[in-house]
Structure formats: structure tokens, C-alpha cells
Amino acid sequence: MASGDQNVADVLIIGGGASGGVVAKHLTDAGVRVVCLEQGDHVDPSEFAGDKPEWELVSKKRWHPNPNRRDIETDYPTDVRDSDVEPMMYCGVGGSTLLYTAMWMRFLPSDFRVKTLDGVADDWPITYEDLVPYYNILDEELGLAGLAGDPAYPPGQRMIMPPHPIGKVGMKAVKGMDQLGWHWWPGSNTIPTEPYRGRNECVRYGTCSTGCPQRAKSSFDQTHWTFAIKNGAKLITRARVKEITVNDSGLATGAVYIDRNGRERRQKANVVIMCASSIGTPRILLMSESGKFPNGLGNNSSGLLGKNLMMHPFSAVAAYSEEPLESWLGPAGHTIYSLQFYETDKSRGFVRGAKWGITPVAGPFSLRGGQDNDPIINAWDDGIHSVFDQTVGKVFEWGVIAEDLPEEHNRVTLSDELTDSDGLPAPKINYKTSENTRKLLDWHIERVIEAIEASGCTGYTVSNPVRECGWHLSGTARMGTDPERSVVNEFGVSHDVENLLVCDGSVFVTCSGLHPTATITASALRSVDNLLQNRYNQRVPL
């Protein structure tokens, strides 16, 4: 797939986030000439506010995970009029991992066989075992801090360093789980407990979800882009892709993008890899409609591009303790987690399950709902001093990630009302929470309350569901073996355009109830491996 023309990239990556970083690093390790177009900027860790007194104030705007609240020109807005859930994401080098909490979990074997085991949705064309070698590589590259031996997982996963202390928060929650005889395990996070590959050790600012000022957390600008750029990858920031171009043979030829000065430019390539998230990728491919691809690029065979959006509806219960818990201490990844009710038990009235995780609650305004700002206002009415006396340093949160199943009516299309700062159509999100998900969340929240009561907490508040919770986006270009039922094959290659790949969460067939970044990147790495193995047979346009 190499080209003699220096203006033609061997591989053009669209999107400089987690999967883009993994793809870029591993392709350039193998000597492939890579160009990446990223619409956001580099962010230096010193720009984050986590180590400053104004952290919470600033985080409610500049570092809010919802692009509609941040309202900065390098993001694109989302049209969420018809969605129960709002997507959380960030455009920049490292992508949404700049604002993630680095909770790092593999999917479970059953996640890849939902149809076979539970009779719903579809099986993946790959298994847990297919991804294990790639999971292992990423655990190493990111520096996974955790404890091996969790009986909720198949044996064999090696941790790179010990887990973070679970602190008073974790021990309080464990007390309840222990009393009930329920599963729990120390949290696994790709946040190093010692200096690791150019990153610093975590010093527990507890502000992971608004950016790590310590340069410790495994945002992919630090873990992969640094190395890809050293390898020679060309990363063009503030480059907003307008269209993936194709030739008469139906092969992708590159991309048209708008640069930071508003000029339209073209980047030619032999292979194009979409790494723009499960909203950004279908948006760009839908904008790339043409006579040959009238319903969006790569959407001829299945018509499923943009459909089956999954967003992991999320609920949470904040638990109040009488004794101080130092709950401002980080990291803000999960302190402990539970998979007690992860696997299907149809007697509960729904299928599939959820992962629970404990996170500390840092500053005065960081309670769940802090993102929609209600607690501050409510606090005035209840007496601001008494409310904060009960909460600051004494609260932790059980979060419940629900596995939502793929449904074609949950989808990404192009908005006819909203545009980005360059006038390109924003993605329109249609998402309705299913009855199965609703039952699942309600049932799990009841169990969480039992755990909180067993832990000896004196009170709790329930947020069920949380509207601004769409951190985990997947499913809009699903993988499969049948071109009529999937957009890409098991290696992310488009069924319709043989030099177009999708390597982000769009390829998920189902979404599991676990954090997706380990599986997004492991799947991307598997696709890269396949691409490299077949590089000399790859059909290219130029």
C-alpha cells in the first residue's frame, strides 16, 4: 500500500483520539507513512485546571465533557432534540481520553456471544480470545494498574503495576459488598502508580475526568501520539474533514478538509482509516455521499451506517457517610468495581447486566448532577452550609453502566438545523432508552441501594438515569461477516470500499456493560495487524 508519491499518505487516519493513536503508532512502528487529520488541538497538561482553586468553576465550561456546553469552535455540536442521552466527547489530540477516567476493563467472553447465550441482538464475528493478545499489548503500553485474579474474568490477565489504594471510600463500599456476599474487586485503571513511559506517577488530584494536570493518566496523546509522532507520523490539527473522496473504481482516495484558516484542502491516501468515534465516523461517511454511494460512503450493502447507536445509559447513587472519607482523593477512576449482576438472569425480567463502579466525589460541586448544576441551586434552598457539611469529603458514588442493546432506530444522521463552526451539518442523535434498559437500571439501582445501606451509610440520592452520560459511544458501523447485516468485516474493512477501514467503537456489534476503550483499541490493533499482514496485497487507488 506504499506510494512513491510523497504527497500521498500510505494511510490517512481521520481522528486523533484513542484508536487513531493506536493505529498511528503501530503503523509507523512498521514503517508505514501516516497522516492524521484531527479537528481539535493539542492540549498541554498545564492547561487543565485540576491543580488550581478554580477547578470546578472552569470545569463546568471549558472542560465539560459535553461539547454543547463547552461550545468551542474545534468541537462540533450535537443535535440532541430527540435523544434521551447526550453524547460526551472531546475533539483534540487524544480525543475523549483527555477527559476520561481511564477505568480500564476488558469485555467479558459473554459480551461477544449475546445472541448465542441470551437470544438477543447479534454475536460478534470475533471472540474474547481473539482479542486477548491485543488486550495484553495495550495493558503494557498504557501501564495498567490493578490486581490480577478477579474471578469475574477468565484467568491470565497480567497487571503491569499494583492497584491504587482504595482509600476510605473504597473500604466503606467494600463493607457493604462483603456483608451481602457480593462480588467486588479493586479497580483497574491505566493511571500509573509509578512513573511509566514518559508519564508521571499519579498524585491523586482526583480530577481525571476534566484532564490530568500531572501528565499521569493514559490519555492517548501521551501514551501513543507522542511515539507515533517520533516515528514520523504527520498529525495535522484543526483539520476538519468534510468528505472522504472516492474514484471511479469505488476506492477511497483521501479526504477533503477545512484547515485552521478556513481553506479547503485535500489529502491523498492509499488507505483511509476512520477513527472519529461512533458519532464522528458516521457523520463524515454520511457527508461523503456521492453518485456511487448515494446513502453515505460504505453504506450500499447494509444501509446500517449510523444505525444501532449504543450509548451506555448510566445511573448513579451518591452515598453519604457520617464519618469523613477524604473523598476528594483521586484517582477518579473506579476505586472498586462489581460484576455481581453482570451476566444475564432472566428471572430479573430483563436480559444482560451492568458493571458497577465506585468513584470518589471530589469537590463541593462534584456530586452527580454537578454537571447539570442542580446541587448548587438545591443547596441554597436546603441551607447551603448544612448541605455541604453533610457532603464534602463524605460522599462516594456507585455508578451503574447499563448494557443497551442495538436498535436500528437509535441512530446518527445529519442535522438539518445545526452546523459546526465551518457550516458542516452537526450529527443528529436519535436515541430512546429501551424497556429492557429501563428495567435493568431500575433493578440495579435497587440492589445498589441495598449495598449502600449494608455499608452503613446514612443516606443517598439517586440519579436514574443521568442524561449527560453518553461517554461510551458505539455500534454505528458494526462489524460482521454478512454485508447485508454489517458495515465492515471483522477487521474493520468496509464491505463496500476495500481500502476504507473503521477502527473506532463504531464497529461494536453489542456494547457490553463495561468501559469500551480497551476493546475499541484492541480491536483497532487487530485491524492494524491484519492490514500489515496483507499490506502487499492491499488494493489501492494511486
Binding site: G50, D51, E54, W55, E56, L57, V58, K60, K61, L108, P109, S110, R113, T116, L117, Y128, E129, P151, A152, P154, P162, P163, P165, I166, G170, M171, V174, D178, G181, H183, W185, P186, T193, E194, E201, C202, V203, R204, Y205, G206, T207, W328, L329, G330, L339, Q340, Y342, E343, G363, P364, F365, N373, I376, I377, A379, W380, H385, F388, V392, G393
Partner: protein, 142 residues
């Protein structure tokens, strides 16, 4: 140029003292100069809040602080929120307030993992392990 006049500052001081009254252990809003340098600092950090602040404080000119708070709550939620965020943020950024509530802020506090964590030493984790595996393996589909 800022539209925050001395009159708006004065009205904000009164409103802040209604929102954040003093107690035996906690200062009131105006005690931490919310309406002075703190307001200026917040506007530097969050210039997007100025519009709501000015609109809301202008709308309640001439009202008592209690009436003004209720008016905003009923008639302009956005301004109500913006003013409240300014007041509460400024208040809880103050070192005296943080000390009074026992909150050190988000500060560097490194700690190495213990060689044997408490949950291992006291046998809690062993009970989880002893209950055995709970995952479903990949089914044989051949």
C-alpha cells in the same frame, strides 16, 4: 468592557449574603469579598457568566435581596444559576472557607500502594475469590 457597575456589585453583595448567610463557624458571602475581587476573578475565568449576571442583577434592582432571589428563581433560571454559580464558586474557592469545611482542595497527595492492602490482610478479598468464578466462558459454537 465590563457592564458590572458599582450598583450591581452592591446588589450582588446583598444577594450573596442571602444565598450564603454566615454562621458561628462559616463566614457569609460578603465576608470573603465575593462582590469585589472575587467577582472580577470569576469573570476572568468564566466570561460567559457575565451576561446572565448583569441581566439578572439588573432585573432585580430596587428589590430586597430576598425578593430578588425569589424573582430570579421564578422568572430567569439561567441568570439564577449563573449568579448562584458565581457566588458559590467564589465562596468555596476561598481558603478560609475550605479550611472551615475541612476541604483541602484538589492537591497533590501521592501515596504508594501498600505491599499488602488492608482488604487482603483482613481476608475480605479472599472471600470474593473463594466464592469462585462468575463469568460465562465463550460457548462452543462449532
Amino acid at each position: 468592557m465590563s457592564q458590572i457597575t458599582p450598583a450591581l456589585r452592591k446588589a450582588f453583595r446583598n444577594l450573596a449574603d442571602i444565598m450564603i448567610p454566615g454562621t458561628d463557624t462559616m463566614p457569609r458571602g460578603s465576608d470573603v469579598t465575593l462582590h469585589e475581587d472575587v467577582l472580577d476573578r470569576i469573570m476572568e475565568l468564566r466570561p460567559d457568566l457575565e451576561e446572565g449576571f448583569v441581566r439578572g442583577m439588573t432585573a432585580i434592582a430596587g428589590m430586597s435581596a430576598a425578593e430578588g432571589k425569589e424573582h430570579l428563581k421564578q422568572n430567569d433560571k439561567t441568570a439564577y444559576y449563573d449568579i448562584g454559580l458565581i457566588a458559590a464558586s467564589g465562596y468555596y474557592m476561598d481558603p478560609r472557607v475550605r479550611e472551615a469545611i475541612g476541604y483541602p482542595g484538589q492537591v497533590s497527595n501521592p501515596k504508594k500502594p501498600a505491599p499488602v492492602p488492608e482488604y487482603i490482610a483482613n481476608g475480605m478479598l479472599k472471600r470474593v475469590i473463594d466464592r469462585g468464578s462468575i463469568y460465562r466462558p465463550t460457548p462452543d459454537t462449532d
